[in-house]
């Protein structure tokens, strides 16, 4: 309980940073809405002509896109800065996490907050629910439960991948370049159903870098595009678990290995 209180205190301190550049901050909110609006409009332009993309209709793709967006927005708001672990290790500033009487993981997680990304989260939530309505899906308690679980799962997948890859810095000092290489994979999974790609790409985004678990598979279940739901639920849970174990293992081993650097 004390840790949670401390987490929010640290977040509150981080919020003051946004008073610095007010006009850009406001433009940031509008800009993020415009970026997502333009992405959805581009999909609309395409599907206005073609009607479906590999049997996915416009609103189904919007749901898929917005589910990814809301998970990404929440993740970026609270956890994106975990990738700064690399800088802390290289500059030696990770030492201070170890000296304070609070868990280093908690300190790392609560170091920053990106309020503008909450805009993505909100846009994603509203967009996904609106798309569901347009698809005539009954917004029942069961659907909402599935939807919320999908968002929690998506945020978990993003954070687990980021955390595991960032922990590699304990050995290599550099990990951000690996993260950069996943940018385009993320974009592709966000914008289009992965069924349009070949088997190798599908395997990568299902098992190795499971971004497909953020939106594609939950969308298949929530939009009733598959008959057997439990197979996908088990697959998602299994991959989530494996990534969690990998992250925890790398963090523990990395902490033991860390011996300070910089000055």
């Amino acid at each position: 309980m004390e840790s949670i209180q401390l987490y929010f205190d640290l977040i509150k301190a981080g919020l003051k940073r946004f008073a610095e550049y007010r006009s850009s901050f406001i433009a940031g909110f509008f800009g993020l809405i415009m970026i997502n609006g333009s992405s959805i409009l581009l999909i609309w332009v395409m599907l206005k002509n073609f009607h479906t993309l590999n049997e996915w209709t416009f609103w189904q793709i919007v749901f898929n896109y917005c589910l990814f967006l809301s998970c990404l927005g929440f993740h970026n708001t609270f956890f994106r800065h975990i990738s700064d672990l690399e800088n802390h290790i290289v500059n030696g500033t990770f030492d201070r996490f170890l000296l304070r009487p609070v868990s280093p993981l908690l300190q790392l997680a609560s170091e920053k907050i990106s309020i503008t990304d909450l805009c993505d989260f909100t846009t994603g939530m509203i967009g996904a629910l609106f798309a569901a309505k347009m698809l005539h899906i009954q917004i029942t308690v069961g659907f909402m439960l599935g939807f919320i679980l999908s968002i929690i799962n998506g945020v978990y997948v993003f954070t687990a991948i980021l955390f595991s890859v960032s922990c590699i810095s304990f050995w290599t000092m550099k990990s951000k370049s690996i993260l950069y290489s996943t940018n385009e994979i993320q974009e592709s999974v966000q914008h289009y159903p992965i069924s349009i790609f070949n088997k190798a790409f599908k395997f990568i985004v299902t098992v190795l870098l499971p971004y497909g678990l953020v939106n594609y598979y939950p969308s298949l279940i929530l939009l009733n595009k598959v008959n057997v739901h439990w197979v996908y639920v088990i697959m998602i849970a299994l991959v989530d678990m494996i990534y969690g174990v990998i992250g925890a293992f790398l963090w523990r081993r990395g902490l033991k290995r860390y011996n300070g650097s910089g000055s």
Binding site: V45, N54, F197
Partner: protein
């Protein structure tokens, strides 16, 4: 000026290739993007080829692949505006203003060198490798495309320069950059060619300069489009944006705030 350009070219080459892993990952990203869009267009072409009009799959893929490769050199997420933003924040902009060369000229040479290096190490190799991978026939109009791409570069620079002047007033560019990105992504035809757009959207886009950076030059590249008309509109837009830039510089130069130091 030539010596300055050579110095910038060397500097840009060193900085872009200094971190081998970052260089490789950028290339990997370009290829993933190319692959994703090639798959998308192949799926759509298989679904309904008649909607592509007189454009065949080979031309469509050439358009899409070159557009993605080119966006590595014609950048709006990086460029003079990002350089100015950084230097305004850390106070080094004062050094640029003291140099015996106009700020706009410095920024232009810096951007030109970065574009040339990006073209050589990312755009051309990724485009050629991808055309081989997808076994595409290189039936393109090099001369027409070259002229319009050079003008497209000048047009994009003019837009980026205006953004860098906005930064003198706002001190931070992140939010404005998002808006700029949304406009370029939607209105330039870089992602989806404009022939798919409905008429009411084209009515707006035709009055904006963005399509002359990517869409019109890319059309000429795949042996479509009208060279004279494109060049005329590009020159007009460059002239208008230069005037706006000049006017803004006059206003901004009186209000410069130097931070840090």
């Amino acid at each position: 000026m030539y010596r300055v350009l050579c110095a910038y070219l060397k500097q840009q080459y060193s900085s872009l290739t200094a971190y081998k892993s970052a260089f490789c990952m950028t290339l990997v990203n370009v290829f993933i993007r190319i692959y994703a869009y090639a798959m998308l267009w192949m799926t759509l072409y298989k679904q309904n080829a008649s909607l592509f009009g007189n454009i065949d799959l080979n031309q469509m893929l050439l358009y899409s692949i070159f557009s993605i490769s080119l966006s590595q050199a014609f950048t709006w997420w990086d460029g003079p505006h990002i350089y100015v933003e950084e230097n305004i924040k850390n106070g080094r902009i004062i050094c640029d203003l003291l140099k015996p060369m106009e700020l706009k000229t410095q920024l232009f040479l810096r951007t030109l060198s970065s574009t040339v290096v990006n073209l050589c190490i990312f755009t051309i190799p990724s485009f050629l490798i991808s055309t081989c991978f997808f076994k595409l026939e290189l039936n393109v109009n090099i001369i027409g495309a070259l002229i319009t791409f050079v003008l497209g570069f000048l047009l994009l620079f003019s837009m980026n320069y205006i953004l860098s002047l906005i930064c003198f007033l706002s001190l931070d560019l992140e939010g404005y950059l998002y808006i700029f990105h949304a406009l370029i992504a939607f209105c330039s035809g870089q992602v989806v060619p404009l022939w798919f757009y409905p008429d009411f959207l084209l009515g707006i886009i035709n009055w904006l300069p963005f399509k002359y950076v990517f869409y019109e030059p890319l059309l000429l590249f795949i042996r479509n489009g009208n060279l004279c008309q494109t060049v005329c509109f590009q020159v007009i837009w460059i002239f208008i944006l230069s005037l706006i830039g000049r006017f803004m510089w006059k206003c901004v130069s009186k209000k410069i705030v130097v931070q840090g130091g």
